[in-house]
Subunit: 143 residues, 2 copies
């Protein structure tokens, strides 16, 4: 049914719940699992004149992501084909990696937030829009 | 993993593709399948003074839906727990039935349309938003 599942995680505490659903599907369908975390590009508020050393921050974000994705991989009760950390726009990176790895299902957490997010739409909505394959949105917080 | 899957279909030609994915998941996870079709409420452009007999049209829509859902059920290679036809807003009816039947996954087709739909969002996006459970959006048309 599915051969290759891309699990996109934000590496928050809830990621393990989303991961467990993806793992369950991998086991049920025999699909291989790739984990992806996208580090959102920093928006530099200052033109070229950045008052802090961005390179350090980027490296730090990268290190933290590496540590957290390794912890997640340890918690997961299934073999992981590959762990990817990329940088850019969240939705566009998920779509890009999904195409590159030729996955047939993207699994993503769907957070219930109220207020502004209701108007702006969630990451899950953004991922759904223009995805190259099926998308499974895992409900993370109950209404 | 999933116990009860709600397959929401618009009963177009593509519904069988979406249904087959839902059936595959039911087989893989042992979940029971409920099929739902929502007849969108007609917007009466005229206040109380409707120049045509709406009752007939509603009955006709209901009959067509019944026929088509029966054909779909025949095409599906799995037992169907229940077929529901309801009337109202598509997203709100899907959410309502999902809660009523206590499903843990909604499966819905995700159409790729360009232009206005890009701004307005698809039914799949609408279903995702505020869903009481996980949502699997099946890619129907390739980009």
């Amino acid at each position: 049914m599915y051969n290759r599942i891309l699990l996109a995680v934000d590496l928050t505490d809830e990621s393990i719940k989303v991961a467990n659903k993806a793992v369950g599907l991998c086991k049920a369908t025999g699909a291989k699992l790739t984990i992806l975390h996208v580090i959102e590009s920093l928006n530099y508020a200052y033109g070229g004149d950045v008052p802090i050393d961005i390179t350090d921050i980027q490296a730090q974000l990268q290190d933290t992501a590496k540590e957290r994705i390794a912890i997640l991989e340890d918690q997961i009760d299934a073999p992981v084909e590959e762990c990817c950390i990329t940088q850019g726009g969240i939705e566009s990176e998920i779509h890009r990696i999904a195409e590159e790895k030729q996955v047939d299902l993207i699994v993503v957490g769907s957070h219930c937030r109220h207020g502004l997010a209701l108007l702006l739409g969630s990451t899950a909505n953004g991922v759904l829009h223009g995805a190259p394959c099926d998308v499974l949105a895992i409900k993370v917080v109950k209404d």
